[in-house]
């Protein structure tokens, strides 16, 4: 099969694992590129949630790749068939690369519907069962620039048996082979790239096997499935991703599915991931929150050197928000809908007369034109504009985070910051209130148990909470 047009040009590999570079040759004419580590633009049927093209284009540095999901597109197969022009044209997307994933990372699928030959997606009208044949037929009507091959990823539940995990690896490989056969014989899919999917749950050997076998196939890159936020803790995730990375070619991109929280992104970049799905800003928006964590890697000695005195003091008021909705302080750090410490909850009364922008210095449309008090009002009165403005801000903030991440990798900020011994604090934690009223926090790990005694984290970003 002809070589893939997608090329990953790495400019740096830090500590043998974190990679910095550019993914080139994207799109039918190969003219688009995406810097890595980077995120995709999350969409519902090609539209960034809440936004029209006008509001979307108030953003700078929009990721060049838009992710569409079969869960939103599959039910429109007939329409696309009749349209004949492919999904991009159908959705009015003029200047973007379209990547088609199987599932929507922001919507958990009910388990129990995968078989040897089928997987299911849920559209607005209910469950749609896909065989490889149907899956590929839909891809032909979509004509994405690239897509992930059909995969059995129903392994994110804890306590999935080894036997089930082995099956998921086998099935996924079988689906991949079938997809590739159809792909190679299809005129319609000429120039379209395929990513293989690495499965295997939480079993290292299965993960390695899946990666090794998938790498033998002529795919343009790799999706890492079954690592969704909440499926396992970060230490294990890091360990497994590193093991997978060992089996994968260096020059092909790795896309991690279902992980979007900034701390997890950071840890996974360190483990060797290049691309992430950009759904986190949407989740934050849906709970009426605004991303507000600082990713300032300024060289101001005062700022950089001032390690937060104690985790308990950090986050202060914000911690109270994180535990909201958990009456007995249950720790549910796996719940994707739980508010994290990276955001502020604008519904809170304290913002009703706060006339500052969401984030000082943020140049997004929302921060330039509006204030917290106004957003608070929109949320309290259930106004649609709240979603529009928050989506703009949260997307801008998230894009900025990735940009800074790349900058940190590029500019040797590591040494300087290592010396200052700033510790990466950003964590998401639930708050438990013990009977004596003392607030404690349960930290979710970030690979702080690194083997390296001298260096806690090889990238330092300070989360400044207000």
């Amino acid at each position: 099969m002809a070589g893939s047009r997608i090329k990953l040009e790495l400019s740096r590999v830090v500590q043998g694992e974190s990679r910095l570079g550019v993914l080139k040759g994207l799109g039918r004419t190969g003219q688009h590129c995406l810097e890595v580590p980077g995120c995709l633009l999350y969409s519902h049927l090609g539209t960034v949630p809440h936004l029209t093209q006008d509001t979307l284009h108030t953003l700078k540095n929009i990721p060049a790749v838009t992710q569409v999901t079969l869960s939103s597109v599959a039910e429109h197969q007939e329409v696309l068939q009749e349209f004949k022009g492919g999904f991009k044209k159908f959705a009015g997307l003029h200047d973007t690369v379209v990547y088609c994933s199987l599932h929507d990372p922001a919507a958990l699928c009910p388990p129990g519907y995968t078989t040897n030959k089928t997987v299911s997606v849920w559209g607005s009208g209910g469950r749609i069962e896909l065989t490889v044949a149907k899956f590929m037929a839909i891809q032909k009507t979509i004509q994405p620039d690239w897509y992930q091959s059909m995969a059995d990823g129903e392994t994110w539940q804890s306590n999935t048996s080894r036997k089930r995990l082995r099956k998921s690896v086998d099935r996924t490989l079988a689906h991949l082979d079938e997809c590739l056969t159809i792909h190679q014989n299809s005129q319609d899919l000429q120039g379209v790239e395929v990513f293989g999917v690495v499965e295997g749950g939480d079993i290292l050997e299965e993960r390695a096997r899946s990666a090794r076998e998938t790498a033998k196939r002529p795919v343009a890159g790799f999706c890492l499935d079954g690592f969704q936020t909440g499926s396992m803790d970060q230490t294990l995730r890091t360990q497994l991703i590193k093991a997978i990375a060992k089996e994968l070619p260096e020059d092909k991109p790795r896309l991690l599915q279902g992980v979007g929280r900034p701390d997890e992104v950071l840890a996974c970049v360190e483990a060797g991931v290049d691309l992430f799905e950009g759904f986190f800003p949407f989740q934050v928006t849906e709970r009426g929150c605004a991303l507000s964590f600082s990713f300032d890697i300024s060289l101001d000695p005062e700022r950089a050197g001032r390690a937060p005195p104690a985790v308990l003091e950090l986050n202060d008021d914000e911690t109270c928000r994180a535990g909201e909705g958990q009456p007995n302080g249950e720790v549910t750090d796996g719940d994707q809908t739980q508010m994290t410490s990276f955001e502020i909850n604008l519904k809170d009364k304290r913002y009703h007369d706060d006339f500052r922008p969401l984030v000082e210095g943020c140049g997004c449309y929302c921060c330039v034109n509006h204030q917290r008090a106004y957003l608070h009002h929109l949320l309290v009165t259930n106004e649609l504009l709240a979603g529009v403005l928050l989506m703009i801000h949260n997307t801008a903030h998230y894009i900025g985070f990735f940009s800074t991440l790349r900058e940190a990798l590029a500019n040797d900020k590591l040494d300087l910051l290592k010396r200052r011994q700033v510790i990466l604090i950003a964590t998401s934690f639930s708050v438990t209130v013990t009977p004596d009223g003392f607030e404690s926090a349960a930290l979710s790990h970030l690979g702080m148990e690194s083997k390296h005694p001298r260096v806690k984290i090889n990238m330092t970003l300070i989360w400044l909470q207000e």
Binding site: L45, T47, V48, A373, Y374, H377, L378, E383, L384
Partner: protein, 403 residues
């Protein structure tokens, strides 16, 4: 004998200038430039409604991009949440929502009719039971104007005693007289007559004598503009247009006439012919959220199955951002996936309304408004026998004969 209110308004310059650019020689229509504190407004004008300090789902930039020069906010809602004090701190409603052009605020009076279970009226004002916390609030003329002063709108409406247009009997007369007394109280209460324009609202229900009496009294007050109220509430169209034309017959030529609550395309065109300059209605934006797109030949229910494979834009001749990029089929599909589908239709519907009014205005300026009316009706209805009879009668009354 000039009352205190009248003497007060005579001393202060009005922050409103109306320049009549053209008058239709056939109908009672006018095209004007309405100069308000934040910008000029070309009339006839349709004003979209942004009840709670936002047009649902649309940013102020998008609204500005569509050519909107004035939109509405609501005193009752904003008075409840977030409250006048907070908005004042935010530099008024303009500052709070960051809208740089004009704002008109309704007094809260209409909520008396729409939320009637929650209200009770007496000479003092309207007692509301807040739906949010059950507290009782008294909305008096003074309170309404005080809130509107805090909101800082370019045009404020008097608090009127609103009665549903389907009500008959002595209540209508009582409400009409009270509205006059409340107008005087509103004028006296206005702290910013040099920056904010207070409009009177003509009441009197569907009773010609009561309307006339109200007109006679209210036009003696020196207010910068007049609204025609108490209509557009479910009454027969045959009664509706007669009250509109009676009102414009007795309102001063050199002041703007604002017909409240009217927004259907046919109603707009006819009432411009009857002499109205300004209109507001939630209909275009509300119906958008249900997937109903307004077009010159009626409306299109985008969510209906028949559009699933319709790859044309909503209106091939429409220059709005929605029609320039998206098809009916895509919007139909998008309604199943994301709220932005509503925003696309909202943008289109506002564009439709504003474009309609722009075309109306241009035809008046060009001296061909009657022709415009005829071709508008032809486009809107499949055949002349489908023309609504009230519209035919109303237009005939201003010398426009449809086939």
């Amino acid at each position: 004998m000039a009352s205190l209110a009248q003497r007060k308004t005579l001393c202060v310059a009005s922050p409103l200038t109306l320049r009549i650019v053209a008058e239709c020689p056939v109908t009672k229509a006018r095209a004007c430039d309405l100069i308000l504190p934040h910008s000029a407004v070309s009339t006839p004008v349709f004003m979209p409604v942004g009840t709670q300090g936002t047009l649902k789902g649309i940013t102020v930039d998008q609204l500005d991009g569509l050519g909107c020069q004035i939109c509405l906010g609501n005193t009752y809602h904003l008075g409840m949440r977030p409250g006048p004090d907070l908005i004042e701190k935010a530099n008024g409603l303009h500052g709070f929502m960051n809208w740089k052009k004009n704002l008109l605020t309704d007094s809260g009076g209409f909520q008396m009719v729409s939320l009637v279970e929650l209200s009770e009226v007496n000479e003092e004002g309207v007692k509301f039971k807040s739906p949010y916390d059950g507290k009782e609030i008294l909305l008096s003329p003074e309170k309404s104007i005080s809130i509107q002063n805090s909101l800082g709108s370019d045009i404020m409406m008097q608090l009127d005693d609103v009665v549903s247009s389907t009500v008959t009997g002595p209540r209508v007369e009582e409400a009409m007289h009270r509205s006059i007394r409340w107008l005087d109280r509103c004028i006296a209460a206005n702290k910013n007559p040099d920056k904010q324009n207070l409009f009177a609202i003509i009441q009197g229900g569907l009773n010609a004598d009561l309307r006339k009496a109200c007109l006679d009294e209210m036009t003696q007050r020196n207010v910068p503009g007049f609204a025609i109220g108490g209509l557009s509430g479910g009454e027969e169209k045959d009664d509706f247009w007669r009250m509109v034309t009676l009102s414009t017959d007795h309102l001063p030529r050199e002041k703007p006439r604002y017909l409240m609550g009217v927004g259907y395309a046919v109603d707009l065109v006819v009432c411009v012919a009857l002499g109205c300059d300004m209109f507001d209605c939630v209909f275009p934006t509300r119906t958008a959220r249900f997937g109903s797109a307004l077009v010159p030949w009626g409306s299109l229910q985008v969510k209906h199955k028949q559009y699933a494979k319709d790859f044309q834009p909503i209106d091939p001749d429409c220059p709005c951002p929605t029609c320039k990029r998206h098809s009916r089929a895509y919007l139909h599909a998008l309604f199943k996936s994301d709220t932005s589908a509503m925003h696309h239709i909202t943008i289109h519907n506002i564009a439709y309304q504003l474009t309609l009014m722009r075309s109306v205005r241009q035809s008046i300026v060009d001296g061909r408004f009657p022709e415009f009316i005829r071709s508008f009706m032809k486009q809107m209805f499949p055949s002349p026998d489908q023309y609504p009879s009230w519209a035919v009668d109303a237009l005939a009354s201003v010398n426009v004969t449809l086939e």
